[in-house]
C-alpha cells in the first residue's frame, strides 16, 4: 500500500486536542459552520456500557468514522484552498478516528447510549478534534483588515466607528478569495450541462439559506434531488481542485 496523501506522520498534537473536554461551544460559527456540541455532563463509563461497546459493529463503524474524518477534512480543504493533509497536521485519518475510539473505550469520552447511537457520538468527538485542527490552520491565515465591509448601517456610524468595527472582524485573506473565485467560477461553467446543480448554486447566491429543506422548497424539488445535486457539485469541486 502506497503512502496516502495524508502521509504517515505522527499523531502530533492529537493528545493536546483531546485534553480539553468537548465543552459546549459558543454560538460563534466555526469556520462558517455552527456546530452543536454536547455539554460535558457527568456521564461515566460503566461495565455494562463497556460491554456494549465491545460488541458494537466496529467492522462498519470504524470505516464510517474514518470516512467522516476524510470527508470533513476534504470539505475544509475545499473551503480554504489548503491541502487537507496540512490541515490535519500530517495525522492519518485512521489515527484520528482510532484515537477517538480509544478514548471512548477507556471512558475518557464516555458514550451514553440513552442519548443516542454510537456512530453519531463518535463523529461528534471526531468533529471536536477536526474543528480544533481547522481553527489552528485558520488562525495561521486569518488577517484583520480595516476597511472590510461590516454589513452595518453606515448612516448611523462615524467613519472612525466603522474602522474600529471592521478592524475587529476577521476577513478571508486574499488567497482564500482567489481560491473561492476560481472554484465558484469553474462550478458555474461545469454545471451548464447540469441545470439541477446550477440551480442550487444560483439559489445560494440569491441568499437561500444553506439547508437542504430550504433549497428543496425554493427550487420545488425533493430533498433527494437536492442531496444528489450537492453530491455532483462536490465531486466537480474536488475534481477541479485535484483533491
Amino acid at each position: 500500500m502506497e503512502p496516502t496523501i495524508f502521509g504517515p506522520g505522527p499523531i502530533t498534537g492529537l493528545n493536546t486536542l483531546f485534553a480539553t473536554p468537548v465543552a459546549k461551544r459558543s454560538s460563534r460559527p466555526v469556520m462558517g459552520v455552527e456546530r452543536q456540541s454536547r455539554e460535558r455532563e457527568n456521564v461515566a463509563l460503566t461495565p455494562e456500557i463497556f460491554n456494549r461497546l465491545k460488541g458494537a459493529d466496529w467492522e462498519n463503524i470504524r470505516p464510517a468514522l474514518v470516512t467522516h474524518v476524510v470527508y470533513r477534512a476534504r470539505n475544509y480543504g475545499l473551503r480554504s484552498g489548503k491541502c487537507y493533509a496540512e490541515l490535519i497536521r500530517g495525522n492519518a485519518p485512521q489515527d484520528i478516528a482510532d484515537e477517538v475510539i480509544k478514548r471512548v473505550l477507556s471512558g475518557v469520552r464516555p458514550w451514553d447510549p440513552e442519548r443516542g447511537e454510537l456512530l453519531p457520538y463518535l463523529k461528534l468527538q471526531a468533529d471536536g478534534v477536526l474543528d480544533a485542527l481547522f481553527d489552528s490552520a485558520a488562525a495561521r491565515h486569518e488577517s484583520l483588515a480595516p476597511g472590510a465591509s461590516s454589513g452595518g448601517n453606515h448612516d448611523e456610524h462615524s467613519g472612525t466607528d466603522d474602522m474600529i468595527a471592521n478592524a475587529a472582524m476577521p476577513v478571508s485573506p486574499p488567497e482564500d478569495q482567489i481560491h473561492a473565485s476560481r472554484v465558484i467560477g469553474r462550478l458555474f461553467v461545469e454545471t451548464q450541462s447540469d441545470p439541477g446543480a446550477q440551480a442550487i448554486l444560483t439559489a445560494l447566491m440569491d441568499g437561500c439559506e444553506p439547508k437542504t429543506r430550504f433549497l428543496a422548497e425554493e427550487l420545488k424539488a425533493s430533498p433527494d434531488d437536492i442531496t444528489n445535486g450537492l453530491k455532483r457539485l462536490r465531486r466537480r469541486a474536488l475534481a477541479e481542485e485535484g483533491k
Binding site: I5, F50, W58, N75, L78, K102, L105, A180, S181, R234
Partner: protein, 147 residues
Amino acid sequence: MRDTPKTEAALLARLVDLFDEEGPTSSDEIDVELRAAGIDPVELRASTGAVLEAAVKASPFDWRNRAAAERAAAERAFSESSAPTRAPRGEIVAEIRKILDRLSALGSAQLVQVHCRNFEKSTDEDLAGLLAELRFLEARQRGPDGK
C-alpha cells in the same frame, strides 16, 4: 430580507456547509471517499479487529486491567482497615465471634465456615490478623452504604 453572500468565499463557505450536512452513508460511497484519500477500504476493514482489540486491552474497564486495579484497591483498603489491635486476647476473640455472627446473618455462611476455628490454638498475632481480615470482609459484604 435575504442574506445574500457578499463574496465568493462566503458563497463557497455556504456550499461547503451543505456538503458537511450529509456525508457518505452507503458502503459504496464510503469506499469511494476512502479511495479518493488514498485509503484502501479492504485493508482498513481488515485492520479493524486488531485496532479494537488493542483499544479494549488498553481500557481500564477491560477485565485484565480491572482485576489488577481492584486487587490494588482491596490491598489499600485492607492495609487501611487493619490497624494493629492492642486489645486483650479475650476481647479480640469476642469481637471475632461477633463479626462471624453478623456475617452469618448477612448470609455469608461460607465465610463463617472458613474462619470458624478453635481459637485457643491460635497465637495472639494470628488472632489479631484474623480480626483485621474479618473487619475488612464485613465491610466489603456490607458495601459502601454500610448495609
